[in-house]
């Protein structure tokens, strides 16, 4: 039986990205998503508790909360989000906090960018993309520079994520707990 995972994220394209990554970690028919999109970080934090309860009522057995770190303090943000979902009756949950923005994960595989935007060669990206201060703007700039195409996160993040080699993201420390979470989640059902 497919596992039903509840996802709470800031933007819809965050969910598209995590869906593509999950497909790379486990067969697509082994899980399904139910989602809430906050369209902003303040709303996510405010609604996280209510939404997580609702997702469990909708039949989700596991919860994933994705919240960009931006300029916030990681420990206090994680604590706040964990407190929000602590009393939800689920079998497993994970809080993912991409450093600055989720686009840092997408920068971990230059070949995926080359293929998505038909670049002549793979762009040069810093060894650890999580050190990039504004990954979304960085991605926008290299896409324009190397392909003369407009990068639009709502359009292209899903595409990049679908091509991206999952082993490449292991360089991003904020993503590394996720593969283990998926394998535990699937194994539990």
């Amino acid at each position: 039986m497919a596992v039903k995972i509840g996802i709470i994220a800031e933007e819809h394209n965050d969910i598209d990205v995590i869906y593509q990554f999950t497909c790379k970690l486990t067969p697509e028919n082994s899980f399904s998503f139910s989602t809430f999109v906050a369209h902003g970080c303040g709303r996510l934090r405010n609604k996280c508790q209510a939404w997580s309860h609702n997702l469990i009522r909708r039949g989700c057995t596991h919860l994933v909360v994705i919240h960009d770190l931006d300029d916030k303090d990681q420990d206090s943000l994680r604590l706040e989000l964990e407190n929000s979902v602590r009393d939800t009756a689920c079998s497993g949950r994970i809080i993912l906090i991409p450093v600055f923005e989720i686009e840092a994960w997408l920068l971990s595989d230059p070949l995926a960018l080359q293929q998505t935007f038909n670049m002549k060669k793979a762009p040069k990206i810093p060894q650890n993309p999580e050190t990039i201060r504004h990954p979304k703007e960085y991605l926008r700039d290299i896409v324009w520079k190397d392909s003369k195409k407009r990068y639009i996160n709502t359009i292209h993040n899903k595409k990049i994520a679908s091509i991206l080699r999952i082993d490449k993201i292991s360089i991003c420390s904020s993503f590394t707990p996720y593969p283990a979470f998926v394998s535990t989640t699937i194994a539990s059902c």
Binding site: G40, N46, K148, R150, I152, N153, T154
Partner: protein, 411 residues
């Protein structure tokens, strides 16, 4: 870039000041607050470039008289315009500038505070005339500005000032206005249009609305790879938002013969070739005529086409949210935000979803009180320091700008 505009006595804008955001300004406010009037007043700047007071006048009485003051910058040079404008509003509620007095202060170029009198329409013609020098078009432009007038302008206004105003005129002439109401009901869209070909010249008959869009689309596809048209195709295609897979145009050449009789009875024959252009939108296995597209799809395609391909430096968009699913709307807004880095964009909206995707610095509340008329309030200035702090804290910890607005926090 239009830095600000002050409007007096134009529709509901009795005395309205608007300091535009350099990239993206978002106008919100109740129905009848005057958002459309503000956009129309901004459009008068474009219309000032179309008026030809020296040689062209319409046999109509003005229906309105208004005053504009606007500061415009190009290449870091600031110019301030004072304009007294007589307008005529036609049956389509479109304003036509009949006459105007326009004075400019360009201290950075003139070195003094003295105002220069030069209508934008003349500045535009002068620039075109300069650019058209030594070509066969020169006689056409010479007919529109007399040599006497040219000589007088040359004496009174220094060359750099003329050139600069010409630049402003050409920029303002390219202002583009998009409204959701322009492209309602795609069933009204023709399935083809015809071009007249005579020798090497191809002409379209006067087209408006949906047909004009199809013609613009057809024309722009001839531009080289990498140009705006191909970026547009990339964005609406399968690699982008996936609205359509491809757009194609079938061309069928037809011919016609026109006879005319001259004095004396001589009959002359003129052969013309026409091109029947049939656009098709490919979606999956289907090739659809434009009138088979859904309203939301049609509106989105037109909005994105003009957003991406138009060379204009200023774009006004009314209610981009109409008929559009919120998933697609978020992509449209991301595109608008991206392009606002390169062109100044003003949008009006009734959608809290649109507001969720912008910052308070981009938002202007439009009000219309009796006796006061339309007023525009920039959020960071409308709210007190304390209120603004409370808003920023709310956005950081509680919710979104759209719901804050809906709950009455901005108006």
């Amino acid at each position: 870039m239009i830095k600000n505009i002050s409007i007096k006595n134009y529709r509901s804008c009795l005395d309205t000041d608007f300091k535009l955001h350099p990239e993206l300004s978002v106008l919100i406010g109740p129905n009848s607050s005057g958002k459309t009037n503000v956009m129309n007043a901004l459009l008068l700047l474009k219309k000032l470039t179309e008026e030809s007071p020296l040689f062209y006048s319409r046999d109509v009485e003005p229906t309105g008289h208004c005053k504009l003051k606007s500061t415009i910058t190009i290449d870091n040079v600031k110019a301030t315009l004072w304009a007294d404008i007589d307008t005529y509003t036609d049956a389509d509620n479109t304003d036509i500038v009949i006459t105007s007095d326009q004075y400019w202060n360009i201290q950075q170029l003139t070195g003094n505070n003295k105002r220069v009198k030069l209508p934008l329409s003349v500045a535009r013609e002068l620039t075109r005339l300069t650019r058209a020098a030594d070509t066969r078009f020169i006689s056409y432009y010479q007919r529109r500005i007399s040599f006497d007038a040219l000589e007088q302008i040359s004496k009174e206004i220094p060359g750099p000032v003329r050139d600069f105003l010409g630049k402003i005129a050409l920029d303002l002439a390219q202002i583009r206005y998009y409204s959701a109401s322009q492209f309602t009901n795609p069933a009204n869209c023709p399935v083809s249009f015809e071009l007249e070909k005579e020798g090497k010249t191809t002409r379209a008959p006067r087209l408006t609305g949906h047909a004009k869009f199809l013609f613009d689309l057809y024309n722009s596809r001839k531009r080289p790879k990498g140009s705006g048209y191909w970026q547009f195709i990339d964005i609406i295609g399968p690699n982008g938002i996936g609205l359509v897979d491809d757009i194609s145009f079938n061309e069928i050449t037809t011919s016609s013969v026109h006879h005319s009789v001259r004095i004396g009875g001589t009959v002359t024959e003129r052969r013309k070739k026409n091109i029947l252009v049939i656009p098709q939108f490919k979606i999956g296995k289907n090739a659809l005529s434009p009138n088979q597209l859904s309203e939301g799809t049609f509106k989105t395609i037109t909005l994105l086409f003009y957003l991406i391909t138009e060379p204009s430096q200023v774009l006004f968009i009314e209610e981009p949210e109409v008929c559009v699913h919120h998933g697609l709307l978020s992509s449209i807004l991301e595109l608008i935000k991206t392009y606002s880095n390169n062109k100044q964009i003003v949008i009006s909206t009734h959608s809290d979803f649109v507001l969720d995707m912008v910052q308070p610095d981009n938002v202007y509340v439009v009000t219309n009180l009796p006796d006061e008329g339309t007023k525009i309030h920039h959020i960071p200035k409308r709210l007190s320091r304390r209120e603004l702090g409370a808003l920023r804290e709310y956005l950081r910890t509680e919710g979104n700008l759209g719901e804050y607005w809906r709950a009455g926090g901005l108006e």
